[in-house]
């Protein structure tokens, strides 16, 4: 390959690491760290105080704690999945971590999240958005697992897992948008609704853009 092409490729990788992966890793770990107080089972936390009526329900309480535990596990395990170095040199790490992610999302994270969407904060459309997100998170993870384990179609597996991870990252992007709009002085409920919609559809859009650019060469071969 031409040296300039190699240099450009390296520069692109470096920029991706600096402006995408480092913030994502930092915010993921911050999110996991912020979930830790909930495992003390204290009820004086603002999130729980606001949902005292729901907290009285044992099913909701069970779903809440399992959901945040599952979320912390899947966010942490997903950090390893997109490293090309791990995929090439330590494939077993990728496989084990991927199985943990899939199992946690399909068996715990998505079902408990789906139940809680019925009582989510916001109006009808915000709840609908949460439901859509939970269903799409489940479906994309399901497809990502099936394409790798059964069909051995690793390109499709990669694209479905990008979509799944985009849905998992809504937990982070939602908070980022929420803080930004708060600093802009928006009303709480408007801020909440807009942050939710932007985080879900924005992440889905970004995922599709990344998939498009990664499959461009493959699509060109199909056209040719």
């Amino acid at each position: 390959m031409h040296s300039r092409t190699l240099a450009a490729k390296k520069a692109r990788q470096g920029l991706t690491l600096l402006f995408f992966w480092l913030p994502v890793i930092f915010l993921s770990l911050l999110l996991v760290y912020n979930t830790l107080p909930y495992f003390s089972f204290r009820t004086d936390l603002s999130f729980i105080e606001e949902r005292a009526v729901l907290y009285a329900k044992s099913v909701w309480r069970f779903c809440f704690y399992t959901h945040i535990a599952a979320g912390a596990i899947c966010i942490s395990s997903a950090l390893l999945q997109f490293s090309s170095w791990i995929l090439k040199k330590r494939k077993s790490v990728h496989v084990i971590s991927g199985k943990i992610y899939t199992m946690v999302v399909l068996m715990i994270g998505a079902p408990t999240g789906f139940y809680m969407t019925f009582f989510a904060k916001g109006g009808f459309w915000e709840r609908a958005c949460f439901m859509l997100m939970a269903i799409f998170w489940f479906y994309s993870t399901y497809k990502g697992f099936v394409t790798a384990a059964r069909d051995k179609n690793f390109l499709a597996h990669k694209f479905w897992m990008i979509r799944s991870y985009a849905m998992a990252l809504t937990a982070i992007t939602f908070r980022v948008y929420h803080i930004v709009f708060y600093l802009l002085g928006w009303d709480h409920f408007d801020n909440y609704a807009v942050s939710l919609w932007i985080s879900v559809f924005g992440n889905a859009l970004i995922a599709e853009v990344i998939i498009y650019y990664q499959s461009r060469n493959y699509l060109q071969t199909l056209i040719a």
């Binding site: 105080e49 005292a52 009526v53 729901l54 009285a56 399909l106 068996m107 019925f118 009582f119 489940f138």
Partner: protein, 174 residues
């Protein structure tokens, strides 16, 4: 793999069905969560008398929050209502009974029923003691003093029994 996928799909469907059922029950009972934080007391009124377990917990929660909010201004007000006499070195009551009652009758103590009962007992004991002293002659007091002297004297350790001492004492008096 097949069982895993079937189980996960079943869980997802079950979560959806149960969530929809639970939501419909909440709507029917009027216990659907209201996220409007500004009208907490109104929310408590709304929830009361519907689903007993949920409404009870919600009412307790709201009451606790309202109490917490009230506590802060009360503390601030008590600070501003302090007077210079609160810090003065005024002489406490010198009478033993008055001092005892003064100590027992603190605001914290009065809240406790046991302490209140103890105060009543003390008061009755004091009044009984006073009336007994008023009616009796001086002889029992003297008797008391004599026994105390015998018990706590720094003389030789007593080797004879109390009854023997009493008989000796009574014979010498005779």
């Amino acid at each position: 793999m097949k069982y895993f996928l079937i189980t996960s799909t079943f869980l997802m469907i079950a979560a959806g069905i149960y969530g929809a059922f639970d939501l419909s029950m909440d709507i029917r009972n009027g216990t659907l969560i209201q996220y409007d934080n500004e009208s907490e007391t109104q929310a408590a009124e709304f929830f009361s008398g519907k689903n007993p377990s949920v409404s009870k917990s919600n009412t307790i929660h709201v009451a606790q929050k309202v109490e917490k909010k009230k506590e802060k201004p009360a503390l601030v007000n008590s600070f501003f209502n302090l007077e210079i006499s609160d810090f003065s070195r005024a002489m406490p009551p010198m009478d033993y009974n008055a001092l005892l009652l003064d100590n027992l009758a603190q605001p914290d103590s009065l809240k406790n029923e046991d302490v209140a009962a103890a105060i009543n007992d003390t008061l009755t004991a004091i009044s009984e003691n006073k009336s007994a002293r008023a009616t009796d002659s001086l002889a029992p007091a003297k008797e008391e003093r004599r026994f105390k002297f015998a018990l706590y004297s720094r003389g030789k350790p007593r080797t004879v029994s109390r009854t023997a001492v009493d008989t000796i004492h009574s014979s010498t008096q005779k």
